[in-house]
């Protein structure tokens, strides 16, 4: 087993005049969680589909689990588990039948599937639901079943396209906890997300995308330190122009987005002193996060 799970070199894809992936290169090491972070339309899903061999790049070279993709993508897919952006479970089948049918797609026998079902259900916290119809499950349970289904072939690599989009916070945290467990077991994860928090919590490294181009790559903490490296004060209310000229001498950098002013300040106390006593302002002081990195790199906030 090579130590590089996914290797993309100068991959480019366009539909007509629209360039979706623009000369992208990155490598994912075995055992790491690599995030593709970007707003809707940044090309994340297209890249995930390319890795699975379901979209052929116009130019560039891709290797996944040692197989050239898309030419030999089938052999790579035999060792990949996929959590798609939208659930595509069999709603009329029971939980057990879903796993059986999916196991057969990997040429597993009914006996082989039966042998792994208990462990998968336990992992997905669906122990009591083996014979429930999928249509009766909650959204969070369906996502966990999709995750269990992705593990049926004991994959080396998991490709997850927005795995927690549309889930409530409780369900989302449960998925995150399960994913950390998988990483601890040595699985490799390629994760696309537009949740900064998700990327920050899970990813060892990530690639920030905008309009199909890589605009930054690295460890989440390193990216934050490198791009921001100080505290952030969010200021709501008031006239952003007037306020920014007032605090500019004390700020390393200021961004205005909508009605919010982001002030990146090495010494936040100085800024707060300037603003003290002003009516109608709401202030929030916090450590910098990936959201700020994205704002800094693109000049705009990530849509949610």
């Amino acid at each position: 087993m090579s130590t590089v799970a996914i290797d993309l070199t100068c991959v480019r894809k366009s539909y007509g005049d629209k360039i979706v992936v623009d000369g992208l290169s990155f490598a994912v090491a075995s055992g790491e969680c690599f995030g593709l972070l970007g707003p809707n339309g940044a090309g994340k899903s297209t890249i995930a589909r390319m890795v699975l061999g379901m979209v052929a790049p116009d130019t560039g070279k891709m290797t996944v689990l040692g197989e050239p993709v898309p030419a030999r993508a089938r052999l790579a897919r035999a060792r990949i588990g996929v959590v798609p952006q939208f659930d595509n479970l069999e709603l009329e089948f029971t939980v057990r039948e879903n796993l059986l049918v999916f196991g057969r797609y990997f040429n597993m026998t009914a006996r082989e599937v039966e042998a792994v079902v208990p462990a998968l259900l336990e992992f997905a916290r669906l122990e009591g639901k083996a014979d429930a119809r999928v249509a009766e499950l909650s959204g969070g349970m369906k996502r966990r079943l999709t995750l269990a289904r992705a593990l049926i072939n004991d994959p080396h690599l998991l490709v997850m396209d927005e795995p927690t989009t549309g889930l409530d916070p409780h369900a989302r945290h449960l998925i995150w906890e399960r994913l950390r467990l998988l990483l601890a077991r040595g699985k490799t994860i390629l994760l696309t997300t537009h949740f900064m928090e998700e990327a920050e919590r899970l990813c060892d490294r990530l690639c920030v995308l905008e309009a199909g181009r890589k605009i930054a790559e690295g460890e989440p903490r390193a990216l934050i330190d490198e791009q921001i490296g100080c505290q952030v004060i969010e200021i709501y209310g008031g006239n952003p122009n007037e306020l920014s000229s007032l605090i500019r001498p004390y700020a390393r950098h200021i961004e205005v987005s909508g009605e919010t002013l982001f002030c990146y300040a090495p010494d936040p106390e100085q800024v707060l002193v300037q603003l003290r006593g002003r009516a109608g302002l709401r202030l929030l002081q916090r450590p910098a996060n990936l959201e700020d990195v994205f704002l800094r790199l693109t000049g705009r906030e990530m849509e949610r």
Partner: protein
């Protein structure tokens, strides 16, 4: 580019079975309603036309009209069952239900999925066609043993029409377009291909057209067997049907690749 097409062809001789078994499991849950739905239409035609027109028509080629019609209805019901299973059910699995999307994330290829769908549609054609043959035999319009001989012909008829419908599926933007195929291709074929009256009744130009259509070859294989008559040109009929099964199969894979994997 050629490499791209090679990667979506069926990967081996057995991967499709998993898709067939998925459809079988889904069908088992609604089997009764499904069987009734598949049988009602050809039965109505057989008895309605057979008894109603039979009185007026009298004998055709020395057999009663209803016995003549039985072979045509077996072929027609196989055609309809395979066509509808592919156009509506398989299209739903490709689009709304996202079943194909899930399967294509496994080690199966697009060709495996298409082959599994065609085999499943052919299975439903065998069920529908055989059921009509059983009813005809139990009423004395066909020999029981003839059912066994006609099953391979029914199966290949199912494959042919599933394969043709898969091309329609690969091109149709939505369900609304299926009605064109149904009214402009499928229904005229019933009348052109000798299912309800002998092809020899038509002007010679129409007869030549009929000779090119797949349903005519199916009818010419199935009817003589059911009537216990000697059949001619078996090799030609089987050859023509194989062409109609295989060429659209590869064409639909190529078209679906462009549609789904871009």
């Amino acid at each position: 580019m050629r490499e791209g097409y090679a990667a979506v062809m069926p990967a081996n001789a057995y991967n499709w079975v998993a898709v067939w078994r998925r459809n079988f499991l889904a069908w088992r849950k609604v089997a009764l309603a499904s069987v009734l739905g598949n049988l009602a239409d050809p039965m109505t035609n057989l008895f309605g036309l057979g008894f109603g027109l039979g009185v007026i028509v009298g004998l055709i080629d020395g057999t009663s009209y209803i016995a003549f019609l039985a072979g045509g209805m077996v072929a027609t019901s196989a055609m309809t069952a395979a066509t509808f299973e592919t156009m509506y059910a398989a299209f739903a699995r490709m689009r709304a239900q996202r079943t194909w999307e899930a399967i294509l994330c496994t080690q199966l290829t697009l060709g495996d999925v298409v082959l599994g769908e065609l085999a499943w549609a052919a299975t439903k054609a065998v069920l529908a066609g055989t059921a009509i043959a059983v009813i005809a035999a139990s009423l004395g319009y066909a020999a029981w043993a003839s059912i066994v001989y006609s099953i391979p012909a029914i199966a290949i008829t199912g494959f042919v029409f599933a394969s043709l419908a898969m091309v329609v599926v690969s091109l149709a933007p939505s369900y609304d377009y299926f009605v064109f195929y149904q009214t402009l291709v499928v229904t005229p074929m019933v009348f052109l291909c000798g299912a309800v009256f002998p092809v020899s009744q038509m002007p010679s130009a129409f007869q030549r057209v009929a000779g090119l259509l797949p349903l005519a070859h199916s009818v010419d294989l199935i009817r003589p067997v059911m009537l216990g008559l000697p059949a001619g040109g078996i090799g030609l009929h089987i050859g023509a049907l194989c062409m109609y099964a295989v060429l659209p199969f590869f064409l639909s894979i190529a078209l679906l690749r462009r549609r789904l994997m871009r």
